[in-house]
């Protein structure tokens, strides 16, 4: 293929390889540019839908819901693993988002703004169940029975369920920071953005929450597994 680009010339293997790399990199840059164009176009369409929704266009808001509900659903699955409660929380996010749509300043993508609302609603739900004293059951014996060597082979659903019930033993504030940092994999900045806390507060809160988690293990007489 490269030789056909340069007819009548002998091209060494090294040069051929360099030319192939150049062609591929050019193709890649075209794909990247195309992707960026698509992203920009979808963001513009999203913004247009936000503006139409503000004017009361329910079709535009339906499009926004359909576009973001899987992302919101994934976030809120960390807050409740009861399918009915989970669905209700997802619904609450979109209702609350619509009612406060005027406060969306269009500086960040709509999904980012929604993630803050989702975190706030999930946290509020945890505080409600903590006030009612409805703690999910968890036995540290379950934790102790886990295989030490191969947590990577564990079913993701089972791992998530176990962690969900373990973290439910903590106060909502500790639970929130550990859920975001570990289960969601958010860094300090992202956790601060989603909670509305400062970065220093997130760091302090993470430290405290981890101490309380250690204390929880210690109280059960398990301490550290080694």
């Amino acid at each position: 293929m490269v030789l056909s680009i340069l007819p009548g010339r002998i091209v060494s293997l090294r040069a051929e390889r360099l030319l192939v790399e150049l062609v591929y990199s050019l193709m890649d840059s075209e794909f990247v540019a195309e992707d960026r164009q698509k992203t920009n176009a979808s963001l513009a369409a999203e913004l247009h839908d936000v503006r139409l929704s503000r004017q009361g266009d329910s079709d535009a808001y339906t499009r926004l819901i359909k576009q973001h509900q899987s992302q919101v659903s994934r976030m809120l699955w960390r807050f409740s693993r009861d399918p009915l409660v989970h669905e209700e929380l997802v619904q609450d996010v979109f209702v609350e988002a619509y009612l406060s749509l005027r406060s969306y300043r269009e500086k960040a993508p709509f999904g980012h703004w929604l993630s803050r609302i989702a975190t706030r609603i999930g946290y509020r739900y945890w505080k409600q169940i903590a006030r009612r004293g409805e703690t999910e059951s968890f036995s540290l014996a379950e934790w102790d029975q886990l295989p030490d060597k191969s947590p990577d082979e564990m079913d993701p659903g089972r791992a998530a369920d176990l962690l969900h019930r373990l973290l439910a033993q903590l106060r909502p504030r500790d639970r929130l920071v550990l859920t975001l940092r570990y289960l969601e994999g958010c860094d300090v900045a992202e956790t601060a953005r989603r909670t509305g806390w400062t970065k220093s507060l997130v760091k302090i809160q993470s430290l405290r929450a981890r101490k309380r988690l250690k204390k929880l293990f210690a109280q059960a007489g398990k301490g550290l597994r080694e």
Binding site: S73, L146, P151, L224, R225
Partner: protein, 88 residues
């Protein structure tokens, strides 16, 4: 393995979990429509009460004005009658 490392490993594993799929669009729009009509009703009702109160106030103001007019024109009427009698 330390509890903390196990916690981190399980967290990483849990991240690949697929949540149940939901479609709340229909319900959200229904809730928002219901909320909208409730807000409209709430905003209409005070206007109705305001209209009724201002009408009642206007009627009573007219009645009082007629009474005051009659009371104030009564003595003048007597005086004007007396003047016209003197002139004749």
């Amino acid at each position: 393995m330390k509890n903390e490392s196990l916690f981190e490993a399980l967290s990483a594993r849990a991240r690949s979990e697929t949540p149940p799929s939901v479609d709340v669009s229909g319900r959200v729009i229904a809730i928002l429509n219901a909320e909208q009509s409730r807000i409209e009703q709430l905003t209409e009702k005070p206007l109705l009460w305001l209209a009724a109160a201002s009408s009642a106030f206007a009627v009573s103001a007219v009645v009082i004005a007629i009474m005051v007019y009659n009371a104030s024109t009564g003595p003048l009427y007597e005086i004007s009658q007396a003047i016209s009698w003197v002139v004749q």
